[in-house]
């Protein structure tokens, strides 16, 4: 028997039927066709599936779909405002902070969550906050620079 769940995704009400063992990641990707959130490991080690649940940064592979009733979930698909990119998205493009791009949605969600809590992070704080988001292409250099540059811009804005 599947479970009926209803929650808010990027501000919109959504409903889905899911099995007990389906993770939030499975529900987003397989039941709601929201494939911007990526699976890199399914064990909470890589951060590619990062989303925000009620304002908290989580690996969506470590939460179950059945836990989502009444929750507010934010994924990469909700980050831009229509065709206006979030400052982090824009800065990632300008800094060439992505190569293959598979980790990018998770990194962006995690970085947004950091800047909401700490608008003026140090390089070390950014590195530790993003330590749960694996990137194999960039060596993190341009990612860290893009986050710091975004923070500076947003403070100035």
């Amino acid at each position: 028997m599947k479970h009926h769940i209803s929650f808010t995704l990027n501000g919109d009400p959504v409903e889905a039927l899911c099995d007990t063992d389906q993770t939030l990641l499975d529900v987003l990707r397989d039941e709601l066709d929201m494939t911007g959130t990526k699976e890199g490991c399914a064990t909470g080690d890589c951060g590619a599936c990062s989303v925000s649940v009620d304002g908290r940064l989580v690996c969506s592979c470590l939460m179950l779909g059945v836990e989502m009733n009444g929750k507010k979930v934010e994924s990469i698909e909700g980050m831009a405002d229509g065709d206006k990119l979030h400052p982090l998205q824009q800065k990632f493009l300008e800094h060439a902070a992505l190569q293959c791009g598979i980790c990018t949605p998770g990194v962006l969600i995690a970085a947004k969550s950091l800047l909401e809590r700490n608008p003026d992070p140090t390089e070390t704080e950014v590195r530790y906050w993003l330590a749960g988001n694996l990137c194999r292409c960039t060596g993190y250099d341009k990612i860290i620079r893009a986050v710091l540059a975004t923070a500076a811009d947003m403070r100035g804005a």
Binding site: D19, D21, R29, D33, M34, T35, G36, T37, K38, E39, G40, C41, A42, T43, D45, C46, A48, S75, I76, E77, M79, A80, L85, Q89, F92, L93, E94, H95, A96, L98, Q99, C100, G101, I102, C103, T104, P105, L108, E123, T124, V126, R127, Y128, L130, A131, G132, N133, L134, C135, R136, C137, T138, G139, Y140, D141, K142, I143, I144, R145
Partner: protein, 770 residues
């Protein structure tokens, strides 16, 4: 057609080349809209799962699928019986020679399983949970066999034999008995004995490296749809969809024209996505079930059953005169191939001493199989291992002779005209330029603190070209479609559009580059060997030039002038010579608008076998701090200095340098495959197979050196691979500088470093600094 694009590079003043334009595929990647291997679904699709061996070595006595087949929702089950019997001789797959018997048996085991995780059956069902249940219902009877994991143990006379027909190649006369040594090879130059006789100092050391995984964050994934008459479509994350097509068609016995392969966005490859694993299984399951079949690999299976690159044992002996001239270099290398032959030992042997101009070189290599996953290419395959060992000994020689390690390298540097041990004479290369740039960095001159050390190492990768097809079309509004066939892993589309914009003298944004599928273009070899920017760039330039030529011919027709009487510049065509000013200039957009009336679509079709790839040389400079109490090595400062030929998109070139360095840091300090006595892998997860995370690394500074490749219209060399060659040597040399102790095993993880420090303390080692 080659001569046309083989012009010497132009000097300076480019409008687009060398700028950091926003990548054309950028917005879709930061918004989650880009579609990767697992992001496509089809109506009615089934989920495919693979049954894998729990044993490292066993004979398959029987596979009974009857109970699984009876489960409601199971639509197809396949085993090796569903694949064509392959011949063990090498066959051409595009430009590669492939042993299809091995490819077939690695994709799906036949008779024997050769490593834990070896695939032996696959199921397609209406849901993942039903597919999982079906896997449990497949009954396999195994006859367990003794296993061997370590390559040196695998070479012993009493070792379990993986392939009863494996007779070592390259030995004359051939051995009578089978062994786990698949081949033996040698590269030599000059007289090695004389070289050592001339030496004032000889250092010989043995190094050991562990297998490391490419570690792409996107696991393997594909979606196959096959009709009853074998019209097949495959969506797949791959570095080379023509290679996937060739392998799948061969394994299934289908015509190549029936298999249409589309490369999805690719979430990292580093060489690991140049082979097939799930793809033939998904096609076979789709054919059998008559439904689309989607397969995605778990991270655990990705680590357990794909990649990695070889672990190795490398013995290096180098002789030098007192003034620092290297008189002889010798390396004897054992590379483990995994369960099937084919380690990158030949590439390791070719590149071992390649940064240097040496008179006397001898390198031998052995390719050894054991009960581990078959190795796959990993960024400069083979070279990081052999060059790590050589660079450590070079550094030790510099230390013993009291010569600055960069000066010693300068004294022996390869340059234009150097005869390599592996064959070719080198063209212009940037060994000397990158060494001098390294000495000039502020980093090299900055004093170190306590427990800190500095290391430097060189790296060489030869780079390749090969078959490449590109199509460009001028649209009716003056914009351009650019279709290339080498998957874009790190910004390739940006570089292609920059070169096309430069050639055409039009706005970068007027060009939309995409990766075409196997039906849309002629054959393309894969993205690998640092060839994509070089080869597809060469073809893009040729396609753009064809468009210019065709546009000029149309204008000439309109003006009733001979074709040679018109000129093209920056998107405008003008009458030239005696006819200058006879007509108003006409824009290429206008030519595009009128194409229908002047002869039909205006297209540039480039089909080349790109020649003239040139090696990229790099130097890595690293500072480490070693904790004397825990043995932890922290990288505190890092600079990559590398020759790009010409950086088309400098930020993505830097990205290649930084990414290669980071992977090398993981290889040097953390990453390894850990097996139990039971022959099973103990760390098949990103928690236990720990790649560097953001908090492990410092910023990685870069210096882009440009010694143009004369064979490329913009001077491009490949840059992707060289960047992973020097880190292990540079870090080992830095750790030696910090501790006073030489480390000869990777990874230099805290327990290993601490153990060696403790041994040195116990022995009152006079060189020990901590």
């Amino acid at each position: 057609m080659q001569e046309k694009v083989g012009n010497p590079p132009k000097d300076g003043d480019f409008k687009w080349v060398g700028t950091n334009a926003i990548r054309p595929d950028g917005v879709e990647k930061v918004t989650g809209q880009a579609r990767y291997g697992a992001d496509l679904n089809m109506a009615g699709q089934l989920t495919g799962l693979v049954l894998r061996s729990p044993h490292p070595h066993a004979r398959i006595v029987k596979i009974d699928t009857s109970k699984a087949e009876a489960l409601a929702g199971v639509k197809a089950i396949i085993t090796s019986d569903d694949f064509e019997e392959q011949d063990p001789t090498l066959a051409a797959a595009g430009e590669m020679m492939v042993n299809y018997l091995d490819v077939s048996r690695n994709v799906i085991a036949c008779d024997k399983v050769l490593y834990e995780g070896h695939a032996l059956a696959a199921v397609a069902a209406t849901s993942k949970s039903i597919a999982k249940k079906a896997l449990k219902l497949i009954e396999v009877e195994y006859e367990l066999l003794p296993h061997v994991i370590d390559p040196v143990e695998a070479m012993q006379a009493d070792a379990p034999i993986l392939h009863e027909d494996m007779i070592t190649a390259g030995v004359n006369p051939p051995p009578e008995k089978p062994s786990n040594i698949s081949k033996q090879m040698e590269f030599a130059l000059g007289d090695i004995d004389k070289g050592f006789a001339d030496a004032d100092l000889i250092i010989e050391r043995e190094f050991k490296t562990q297998p490391v995984h490419q570690g792409y964050i996107e696991p393997h994934a594909c979606l196959a749809n096959v009709t009853a008459d074998n019209q097949a479509e495959l969506w797949v994350t791959t570095q080379g969809h023509w290679i996937v097509r060739a392998h799948c068609a061969r394994l299934l016995g289908w015509d190549i024209s029936k298999v249409r392969v589309t490369s999805s966005e690719i979430g990292g490859g580093f060489g690991g996505k140049t082979v097939v694993y799930l793809e033939p299984l998904a096609l076979a399951l789709s054919k059998k079930s008559g439904r689309p079949v989607k397969m995605t690999m778990s991270r655990e299976d990705t680590i357990r059953a794909t990649g990695p690159t070889s672990g190795a044992v490398v013995k290096v002996k180098i002789g030098a005169s007192k003034d620092g001239r290297i008189t002889a270099g010798q390396a004897d290398m054992i590379y483990q191939a995994g369960a099937f032959q084919g380690s990158p030992v030949a590439q390791g042997a070719m590149t071992a001493f390649a940064p240097y101009e040496l008179d006397n070189v001898k390198v031998t290599g052995l390719d050894v199989v054991s009960n581990r996953p078959k190795v796959a290419a990993y960024r400069a395959p083979g070279a990081p291992i052999s060059e790590y060992a050589v660079e450590c000994v070079i550094d030790e020689i510099a230390g013993k002779l009291g010569i600055d390690p960069i000066d010693l390298r300068l004294k022996n540097a390869a340059k234009e005209g150097t005869q390599t041990a592996y064959g070719p004479k080198l063209g212009p290369i940037g060994m000397i330029e990158t060494l001098e740039a390294t000495q000039a960095t502020e980093h090299y001159k900055t004093p170190l603190g306590p427990n800190q050390g500095r290391g430097v190492a060189s790296g060489f990768w030869y780079n390749i070209g090969g078959q490449t097809t590109v199509m460009m079309a001028l649209n009716e509004d003056g914009s351009f479609n650019l279709t290339i066939g080498t998957p874009d892993i790190g910004g390739l589309r940006a570089s292609m559009a920059l070169m096309a914009a430069e050639e055409l003298g039009v706005d970068y944004k007027s060009i939309r580059p995409i990766i075409g599928d196997t039906q849309q273009l002629g054959y393309n070899f894969l993205t690998g060997g640092s060839r994509a920017c070089f080869s597809s760039g060469m073809a893009t330039v040729e396609a753009a030039r064809e468009i210019i030529q065709e546009a000029c011919s149309r204008a000439a027709k309109l003006w009733e002038l001979p074709e040679e009487a018109v000129d093209y510049k920056d998107g405008w065509i003008r009458p030239a010579g005696d006819n200058a000013g006879a007509h108003e200039p006409i824009s290429i957009a206008e030519i595009g608008r009128m194409a229908g009336k002047t002869g039909g679509a205006i297209i540039g079709n480039a089909k080349i076998n790109a020649q003239g790839a040139a090696p990229s040389l790099g130097q890595h400079l690293v500072d480490v701090e070693v904790d004397p109490e825990t043995g932890k090595v922290s990288v505190i400062r890092y600079t990559v200095i590398q020759d790009a030929g010409r950086a088309i998109h400098p930020a993505y070139v830097e990205g290649q340098y930084q990414g290669g360095a980071a992977q090398g840091i993981g290889w040097a300090l953390n990453e390894e495959y850990i097996y139990g006595d039971d022959g099973k892998l103990q760390n098949a997860s990103f928690l236990d197979y720990r790649i560097p995370v953001a908090s492990d690394l410092p910023m990685i500074d870069t210096v882009i050196v440009e010694v143009p490749n004369p064979n490329h219209p913009y001077g491009v060399r490949g840059v992707g691979e060289t960047a992973i060659v020097p880190p292990m040597g540079a870090i080992a040399n830095a750790v030696a500088d910090a501790t006073g102790v030489r480390f000869s095993e990777l990874p230099m993880s805290p327990p290993k470093v601490l153990k060696q420090l403790d041994l040195a303390r116990a022995a009152n080692d006079a060189d020990l600094k901590m």
